[in-house]
């Protein structure tokens, strides 16, 4: 057992190492790379939500100036290029096991880089045009003649699940690809039968998209000399991309190098391979020139992987003392036209009982195909949806049954004594002090003072709402991570396979490494994002990076200390057992001499040529056990009843992230996470025209983004209940901002609009919708008054 490290850097709000590079324009984003002789790819995209491709005539486009090639699905098939292996079914030991009907395997529709049979959503790429300039390629793309035979289509989640809905895949009898039941049906039924109260709810948490600031881009280069492909493409993990593209091409992964340095936002949208990534490599091989693609903003709105889109029917059985007895939930997830990830459905499925001790639950989880862009795990995959369900249902129960909403929650929260707690669908919550979080939040947010603030606002002619939500979420993610730890005389390098998109890994990982090795923060650099250097790694998603990185770095440091001890013994000419190590320094009782890591590295190089490049340790770690970040959030809003305008007056959170490595970074991520959750509640929606199937929000003029002037100054506090599942006790941060945000916003909205009746329209609650709810409420009140008169 090594002595416990002394935390000096860990826990400090250190300035980010990457910021100077980023704010002085020295970031290396995909489109910043250009190669000699590079040419440009533009996609020909489907205008139809669903259509048979009768034929594609590239001839007129090929005659256009500068055009080098037009490629279709037939070309790819002729060259035996295969499908994108998305592996959508979550597969760690702790993920719920989703299946098709009757336990059959989930049917995954084919996903070639370009389709040959049909288009299945508006914007689907059907051909790639490559030309000397982007402008020439754009003009030629308009000349590619695609003969479509339009088919009936379905975009709406519930409509897609109907047995007679237009079908996307002939191999399925309908569009339902997942149909699984979890929990204890018998005991749930029994609990509902004896329950004093049953409260239920139906809602649809709609479709949104991630809108990363940097549009997705790719630059592919095939080198016939080495028979290797190089792909510059920002993603959520270059190693995953390398393996998936190698599979598409049918080549050995060693023949593919993926470079992903700075990434301008991800939020999950970049965690699956995009067809344009493979296509630029195909174009490069066919044409002998590097090929570049960059999505414009409309392409990003239409064809970035999207998020959410879950329909829930939920009911809760409650006894005469306000104790929850059982829960039933039916969750229906819209995967879009191709199944790239079932994470949203799966993650949510394991958390339907939320932060509450509900002995029995049954869950019917289904997923459907539809003629829309595919969905993917988006910021806090699957959790805001189920958090919304349970928290809104509890608010409704409190109102219906006459309980105080905080009190009703208090009666049912999972207690610290129950930890680790296995919920009714089998998720084991690792640790947490839920009631303490809630109480701290109420104190921090001055919950008792809220009614006075409400009264004051009402005096000014405003409506005032107070929203509240607890949450628990899970951080699972890809189970494997690797770290290469290298100590050279001039510093420490850690090579690791995560992929930041603004999260500050170069800083927080350096903080951990510095403290574990007993060196200073400035002496550590983190290397990421080039698969010729980073040989393995799970990427960044599901809040896994800090936890996996700190765990594998801890293990690497342990190995390094053992290695260092042996080398120090050799250098000091003593037995290994006589060398003591503490806080970055090796010593013996025999002499006064001490050796630090950097001197040791120098000495090692002189002792053996093996150490010429520094002391090196490669460590792999596999960690399946999930952690469960948790917390509470409240907000207060003011509504102008004449216009429906809404202003957030206060927003307060308490988030248990486990050990917090850098509070400044965690707060920053929480703030962004809140904005994303609030965005979905109030403005954001990928609206599809019900008449034509055309997406209506393909620009910032239609897709409402959260902006800084919509947000108050957040009051966020970190609670550190260390997780027993990993060396540093890390859980995860940032997504906890998003998880309760839709629930807390709609809770506040409902509170503000109470006199007009509970709002029953879908998010986002734009000023138009709020105004409409007020008008409806007024009309109902007027009718009642007339009736009474």
């Amino acid at each position: 057992m090594e002595p416990k490290p002394k935390f000096k850097a860990v826990g400090q709000p250190l300035r980010r190492k990457e910021d100077e590079r980023l704010i002085t324009g020295r970031g290396q984003f995909t489109d910043d790379f250009s190669l000699p002789g590079q040419v440009y790819a533009v996609m020909v995209r489907s205008p139809h939500p669903h259509a048979t491709i009768l034929g594609i005539d590239p001839a007129p486009a090929l005659e256009m100036p500068g055009v080098l090639g037009v490629f279709t699905g037939d070309d790819l098939a002729a060259d035996n290029w295969g499908q994108l292996p998305h592996n959508p079914v979550p597969s760690t030991k702790y993920d719920v096991k989703l299946t098709g009907r009757g336990g059959t395997p989930v049917y995954i529709g084919e996903h070639y880089l370009l389709p040959r049979d049909r288009v299945r959503h508006v914007g689907e790429a059907v051909a790639m045009v490559v030309a000397e300039t982007r402008q020439q390629a754009q003009t030629a793309a308009e000349m590619v003649m695609v003969d479509y035979d339009p088919l009936p289509w379905v975009a709406d989640t519930q409509a897609a699940a109907e047995p007679d809905a237009p079908r996307l895949w002939d191999a399925l009898p309908d569009n339902v690809l997942v149909d699984s039941i979890f929990g204890d049906i018998e005991n749930t039924d029994a609990a509902f039968a004896k329950a004093k109260h049953v409260v239920d709810m139906h809602y649809h948490l709609g479709r949104v998209t991630g809108v990363p600031l940097e549009p997705r881009a790719s630059l592919g280069h095939y080198d016939p000399q080495t028979d290797r492909y190089t792909l510059y493409a920002g993603s959520g993990g270059a190693v995953r991309q390398k393996h998936e593209h190698a599979a598409v091409m049918g080549v050995n992964p060693d023949q593919v190098r993926v470079i992903s340095f700075d990434v301008g936002g991800n939020f999950g949208t970049r965690n699956r391979a995009f067809v344009e990534f493979g296509l630029v490599m195909y174009g490069s091989k066919k044409l002998g020139r590097p090929v570049k693609f960059r999505a414009d903003r409309s392409e990003a709105f239409l064809t970035d992987y999207q998020g959410r889109d879950l329909v829930v029917d939920i009911s809760l059985a409650i006894d005469e003392n306000g104790k929850f007895l059982a829960l039933r939930s039916k969750n229906l997830s819209n995967v879009g036209s191709r199944c790239v990830s079932l994470s949203p459905l799966s993650k949510g499925s394991g958390l339907i009982t939320g932060s509450y001790d509900i002995p029995y639950a049954t869950l019917h989880s289904r997923a459907v195909y539809s003629n829309t862009m595919s969905t993917q795990a988006y910021r806090s995959s699957g959790r805001p949806e189920v958090c919304f369900a349970i928290e809104r249902l509890i608010d409704k129960a409190a109102r219906q049954l006459g309980y105080d909403r905080v009190d009703l929650r208090r009666r049912n929260l999972v207690s610290p004594e129950q930890m680790p707690y296995t919920n009714a669908v089998g998720s084991e919550y690792d640790s947490g002090e839920y009631e303490k979080n809630m109480d701290r939040l109420l104190e921090l947010g001055d919950f008792v003072g809220a009614p006075a603030r409400k009264a004051e606002a009402i005096k000014r002619g405003k409506l005032y709402g107070i929203g509240f939500s607890n949450y628990v979420e899970s951080s699972i993610g890809s189970p494997k991570e690797r770290a290469d730890l290298i100590i050279r005389p001039n510093g420490v390098e850690v090579i690791i396979g995560t992929q930041p998109a603004g999260q500050g890994h170069e800083t927080s990982f350096a903080q951990v490494t510095a403290d574990l090795l007993g060196v200073t923060f400035d002496q550590v650099t983190i290397t990421l994002g080039d698969t010729d250097v980073v040989t393995a790694g799970g990427g960044t998603h599901s809040g896994r990076s800090m936890r996996h990185a700190s765990a594998v770095i801890s293990l690497a440091v342990t190995d390094m200390i053992a290695k260092g001890r042996a080398i120090a013994a050799e250098a000091l000419n003593v037995d290994g057992g006589q060398v003591e190590y503490e806080d970055g320094v090796f010593r013996t009782n025999a002499t006064n001499r001490t050796i630090d890591w950097f001197e040791l590295s120098r000495l090692a190089a002189s002792l053996s040529p093996d150490h010429a490049g520094g002391l090196k340790v490669r460590r792999d770690n596999e960690m399946h056990t999930p952690v469960f970040p948790n917390g509470s959030a409240m907000c207060e809003i003011e509504i102008d009843p004449e216009t429906g305008s809404l202003e957030i007056m206060r927003y307060t959170t308490v988030d248990d992230v486990g050990r917090c490595i850098n509070p400044m970074i965690v707060h920053g991520q929480t703030h962004g996470g809140i904005a994303q959750g609030v965005g979905q509640a109030l403005w954001e929606a990928c609206v599809i025209d019900p008449e034509t199937g055309q997406p209506l929000a393909a620009a910032f003029t239609e897709y409402g983004m959260p902006r800084f002037d919509n947000m108050p100054s957040f009051l966020c506090e970190i609670a550190e209940v260390l997780s027993p599942t990993n060396p540093l006790g890390v859980k995860a941060g940032g997504e906890g901002g998003t998880t309760p945000a839709p629930a807390v916003m709609i809770s506040a909205l409902e509170d503000a609009l109470l006199e007009y009746g509970p709002p029953d329209v879908a998010m986002p609650f734009t000023p138009l919708k709020i105004w409409s709810e007020i008008q409806k409420g007024k009309a109902i009140a007027a009718t009642k008054q007339q009736g009474a008169a």
Partner: protein, 271 residues
């Protein structure tokens, strides 16, 4: 973008010549509508004639009881101008409320007026102040200038060179922005000169900017918010889209008109 030839004339005469020589020429000022349209390949002019380099289309002056603003003057210049602030503070405020800082440093008053986007701010001030639109060939009253959605009385090749605003006793502006685009869903410009009141609405009209005679009459008789509190607007003539239905816009016009009059001399922006 499709290829085009770019011109930057130094005089109005050069601009006219470039237009007459172009196959399908169009004028470029701030470009905030035109450039996105070109980038989306929704328009393919043969020639772009940039009028922002023409000195006689720049500048702000007070003359003959009018505030005269060159058509190629940017929103930011109008916003920052001490002359505008002194004579028509609501016009300065309106200019300062357009888009964001980047937009205000490129967009121009003439471009916005000539383009007549139904959501643009300036047409409401031009109409609401009863301004005169000066072109390279004539002068037009604002009541005659705005014709319909993106449509004005301008003839092909006619260049808006200046806008002359009569100076009112008081003017005010209240706007409600779309949460997504931040363009006005409804914005109301009110001016009072002697007993004459003009009320112009932008953001909402199915045929672009328009006046509200009933509101004008009521306010001419009594320039107080109470005078228009009972008035309503017919939704039939209004736009309906994702961010606002016609009914919502009709109600917002009523609210914004009242709020504008509640704070004479000021601009108010709601979202």
């Amino acid at each position: 973008m499709y290829p085009f030839t770019y011109h930057r004339p130094k005089t109005i005469a050069e601009a006219q010549q470039a237009f007459s020589e172009g196959m399908d020429a169009t004028f470029l000022s701030g470009g905030h509508t035109l450039l996105p349209t070109l980038k989306q390949r929704l328009a393919a002019p043969s020639d772009l004639i940039d009028v922002t380099g023409i000195p006689e289309m720049q500048g702000i002056e007070e003359a003959g009881g009018f505030l005269k603003i060159g058509a190629a003057t940017t929103h930011d210049t109008v916003f920052a101008s001490p002359i505008v602030r002194r004579l028509i503070p609501a016009l300065s405020g309106l200019a300062g409320s357009i888009g964001d800082r980047h937009v205000r440093h490129r967009g121009t008053i003439g471009g916005s007026t000539a383009n007549n986007d139904p959501s643009a701010d300036y047409p409401s001030a031009v109409l609401g102040l009863g301004a005169t639109v000066i072109t390279d060939r004539r002068e037009m009253a604002s009541d005659d200038f705005f014709v319909g959605l993106y449509e004005t009385a301008r003839e092909p090749g006619e260049i808006v060179t200046r806008i002359d605003f009569p100076v009112p006793d008081i003017a005010c502006y209240a706007k409600f922005r779309s949460p997504a685009s931040r363009y006005s869903i409804v914005a109301v410009f009110v001016s009072k000169t002697g007993s004459a009141v003009r009320v112009a609405v932008t953001g909402a009209g199915a045929s672009g900017v328009f006046r509200l005679p009933e509101f004008e009459e009521a306010l001419s008789a009594d320039f107080r918010p109470e005078a228009i509190a009972h008035l309503t607007v017919d939704p039939d003539m209004l736009l309906s889209d994702m961010s606002a239905t016609a009914e919502y816009r009709a109600d917002l016009i009523r609210v914004m008109a009242r709020r504008a009059v509640e704070k004479p001399g000021q601009i108010q922006s709601f979202k």
